[in-house]
């Protein structure tokens, strides 16, 4: 069983490395640089500062865990980095690009090339099978149908669900759904993986499985992961944990480097 898993991963690793233009990126290069980032929401006449003067640097290959109470701005920060929300002010440089100034269309293309999403509620398309769900991001690439199939099956194999590829989301358990969602997030081999409360809707066992997969993606495939969570267990898989409170990023107390060795 274990050897099978190893073989599977070796195959997967081969495929994924092939996708990253064959170049090994040097570690510890900052992929995200944020300075004085502010996000202000206007509700009627009131303004609410969701984020205030946030400075943050994330290096390639980091597994950053954002924690904090509800309303502290962690999801807002995640959305800004992922390029699905626009900051009110400040610098937002992700993978060397100033994404705050990009047009909606360019941003969509940028997300498709660079960011994978994992949501709390999985957000699989109910009318599509696991295979078809995972294939969706690849429809935005130039891959042929045969190449897409290969990538999708590899991604599904990586999350241990190759045998469920023809199942619809309603035929899967919550944990399986989230694993399909992870396969969807990594199928186009993005540099960044954004996970917003990925274990929030899962029971303890399924949550552990999902976190293990994320940890593995970080270790073995060098994915830079940013995860928002309430779950202290989840934070154990991270290389860095940062706390937010009332829209402000608390200073780094001490490096929580549980698994960066």
């Amino acid at each position: 069983m274990a050897s099978l898993a190893i073989k599977r991963r070796q195959r997967a690793a081969k495929l994924l490395v092939n996708e990253t233009d064959g170049k090994e990126r040097p570690m510890s290069k900052p992929v995200i640089e944020i300075r004085k980032l502010c996000k202000i929401f206007r509700r009627d006449s009131q303004t609410v500062a969701a984020l205030e003067n946030v400075d943050l640097k994330v290096n390639e290959g980091e597994f950053l865990c954002l924690m904090g109470p509800s309303g502290s701005g962690k999801t807002t920060l995640l959305n800004l980095i992922a390029g699905i929300d626009q900051p009110t002010s400040g610098e937002l440089c992700v993978l060397g690009e100033d994404i705050a100034s990009m047009s909606e269309d360019r941003l969509a293309a940028w997300r498709s090339a660079n960011v994978g999403f994992v949501f709390q509620t999985f957000n699989l398309i109910p009318v599509l099978t696991a295979f078809e769900n995972v294939e969706m991001p690849l429809l935005l690439t130039r891959l042929s149908a045969a190449e897409r199939k290969e990538h999708v099956l590899t991604a599904l194999e990586l999350v241990g669900l190759a045998d469920r590829s023809e199942h619809y989301p309603r035929q899967l358990s919550g944990g399986q759904e989230q694993r399909v969602a992870i396969a969807r997030a990594i199928v186009s081999d993005p540099t960044l993986l954004m996970a917003d409360e990925p274990t929030g809707d899962l029971d303890a066992r399924a949550a552990e499985e999902v976190l293990n997969i994320l940890g593995e993606l970080n270790h073995e495939f060098k994915k830079t992961i940013i995860m928002v969570t309430h779950d202290p267990r989840a934070a154990r898989h991270a290389t860095v944990t940062r706390h937010l409170e009332k829209g402000q990023l608390l200073p780094l107390e001490e490096a929580v480097l549980s698994s960066s060795a």
Partner: protein
């Protein structure tokens, strides 16, 4: 790259009840539109295809329809020998003096009467109408109170079947034959011997004269001769032009049909719009997810509009199938020019079906656009947050 069509198709199948109900509203609109236009088409076909290109009616000055005309016997004598009139194979002028009488007959299965044209004519009159053919029975014999009834009138009016006794004028007439006349307006008439008919109704004057001219130039020459001859108070009209001018009968049907179709289409478009608004609201988070994955606003907009168009095409297709059922069915209306029954077939043409489909697609486009626009404009974050 676009959101795959199977995504829309499966969503339509998942909510099949709503899909079908919406499609049916479009089906009905398209069907009503096609049926009414087929009616106008059929009527127009029967009027435009009537007449030999070298046939000419000579009728009373100022009369808008044959029924209002009269031609005196002395006028007929002049007309017969006008220069430019063709001769038949026996060397006689190819001229048919005819009489028209309207009579009220009862429709099959109804107590209500309707005016039917009875045309009195002779063998030359029949020869002048090459599409004329006796389908059943035989030719009437002059002076014996016998009539030929057109197939369409025979089906639609009481006492008009072969062998029936038909009452008009002073007594009963026997139906000895059933005729057809292509797709022309003569398909709505009863024919008998002109002399017998004029005697029956104590008429001295003919109604009008149908002549065959030698050529188009000859027609112009006759026109000139007739209008300049002080003895004649007549006007020549080409047979085709005469029937085409009666197409005003079809105009109200066309206008009314279009109006009904437009009104119904507003309803159907709102139905499609309502369905799509509901779909958009329910799938807002899916759209947010697709946008996050990198699908552009335009591809989301296109996807939803296509979904609406798919419903509309389904509806349109059903509407076309439904309306095909009336293709070739005979119906009748009063010709407002001659005040007599005009029987014709509904004509559902491929062009009309295409127009119906285009109409359906248009409803789908309009109905889908606004909901699709709304979802494609909302922010990704808001879309993801909705449930």
């Amino acid at each position: 790259m676009a959101v795959p069509l199977k995504y829309n198709w499966r969503n339509l199948i998942v909510r099949r009840t709503t899909t079908m109900l919406t499609a049916i509203s479009i089906t009905l609109t398209v069907a009503v539109f096609i049926v009414l236009m087929a009616l106008a088409n059929g009527l127009e076909t029967s009027l435009t295809s009537t007449g030999h290109p070298l046939n000419m009616f000579i009728m009373r000055e100022g009369s808008q329809a044959e029924g209002f005309s009269s031609v005196r016997r002395d006028e007929l004598r002049v007309v017969k020998y006008l220069d430019g009139i063709a001769t038949n194979d026996r060397g006689e002028p190819f001229v048919s003096a005819e009489a028209i009488v309207l009579t009220s007959l009862l429709r099959v299965g109804r107590e209500q009467g309707s005016n039917v044209t009875i045309r009195g004519l002779g063998p030359k009159g029949m020869a002048l109408r090459p599409e004329f053919k006796i389908e059943e029975g035989r030719m009437f014999r002059p002076g014996l109170r016998e009539v030929l009834v057109s197939r369409r009138i025979s089906k639609r009016f009481q006492g008009c079947r072969l062998g029936d006794q038909l009452k008009f004028g002073k007594g009963y007439w026997t139906v000895v034959g059933i005729f057809s006349a292509g797709t022309s307006a003569y398909n709505s008439e009863i024919w008998t011997d002109v002399v017998g008919l004029m005697e029956e109704f104590s008429r001295n004057d003919y109604t009008d004269v149908l002549v065959r001219v030698k050529s188009a130039e000859a027609a112009a020459q006759i026109r000139q001769l007739v209008t300049s001859d002080k003895r004649l108070h007549l006007k020549p009209v080409m047979e085709r032009e005469y029937f085409e001018s009666q197409m005003q009968t079809a105009t109200p049907i066309r206008v009314f049909g279009s109006l009904i179709a437009v009104l119904m289409s507003i309803g159907a478009t709102f139905a499609a719009m309502n369905t799509m608004y509901a779909a958009v609201a329910r799938r807002s988070r899916e759209m947010g997810t697709l946008r996050a994955l990198g699908f552009s606003r335009r591809s989301i907009l296109t996807s939803f509009v296509l979904e609406s168009v798919l419903i509309a095409m389904l509806g349109g297709l059903l509407g076309c199938l439904l309306s095909l059922g009336i293709n070739g069915v005979t119906t009748g209306t009063t010709n407002f020019a001659s005040f007599s029954e005009m029987a014709f077939d509904f004509r559902v043409s491929p062009a009309l079906l295409l127009t119906g489909m285009a109409f359906a697609v248009f409803m789908g486009l309009v109905g889908g656009f606004f909901p699709a626009w709304r979802v494609s404009r909302s922010s990704v974050v808001n879309a993801l947050r909705s449930c």
